[in-house]
Symmetry: none
Subunit: 128 residues, 2 copies
DNA sequence: GCCGGTAATGAGAATCGTTGTCAAATACCG
DNA sequence: CGGTATTTGACAACGATTCTCATTACCGGC
């Protein structure tokens, strides 16, 4: 049984208002900023519930934080990372998305998540 | 200037002996198990250096740990990994190889390496 | 070989994000 | 309304990683 508390709603709303990915900490900070006396643990729980119910996606940032985004907005992307200076460029990879899903399915795997990142030297670092 | 200490070598060797991805903690545990009095901080530093020099790849596990693996041995391939029981299936991804190279080039990046792995639930674990 | 500068080491503390605990608050059903 | 199980929230606990800093030991030059 799932209850409909204003806290849960607040998290859902706050998540929907952010265009991209947000960390749980950032969401909590934003909510407090907006006047909600909501607790940090509650934000984590609400986000976990949303992700579990498929209402949000979650992934790990390069720094190890868990990031969430409202599920509706498109924009799943990957990264092109300079292994010298660390700059990252966001890239799209629709082809790869489909390939990953297909490949997983062909081997009987379900609930596929994938890691697709390219490491290289950015133009600046290539020059030196 | 980079110094060649037995600790660094030990980390490099230990990483090379593991087939897939290993966490820093696991590597450290394995090394201690093997008799090395190596320190945890040193393992982290060695892994960070290896990753920085392109001698190792790193990625984040679904649980938020940093995982490392020795860098691309001859037969380049990717993995389909069950996040419940850990089984891995080797997969080929020629399409993705080309896509990665092209994408890197389009953004002016050179010497591209990539990490392409899919995590999911294997048939056995999907059933339960 | 031996020496000195200097980067690397390591033990423990500190930090950060996240999860657990548990009493108090409260949404839902009747 | 009243009962009850779920949720909340402050705080403690936790695990992974990073920092600190005194000590060690490479390495290049003599």
């Amino acid at each position: 049984m799932k209850r409909n508390t204003w806290q849960r709603q607040a998290v859902r709303d706050a998540l929907g208002e952010k265009p991209g990915f947000v960390s749980a900490q950032d969401l909590h900070a934003a909510l407090r900023e907006a006047g909600s006396p909501i607790g940090l643990a509650t934000v984590y729980r609400a986000l976990a519930d949303l992700a579990g119910d498929g209402d949000a996606d979650s992934l790990q940032s390069a720094e190890g934080e868990s990031l969430y985004r409202a599920c509706v907005s498109p924009g799943h992307h990957h990264h092109l990372i300079c292994r010298s200076c660390g700059t990252t460029v966001e890239i799209e990879a629709d082809d790869v998305e489909q390939w990953a899903a297909k490949t997983a399915a062909r081997h009987g795997f379900t609930q596929p998540r994938h890691v697709v990142d390219i490491f290289g030297l950015c133009p600046a670092c290539s020059a030196s």
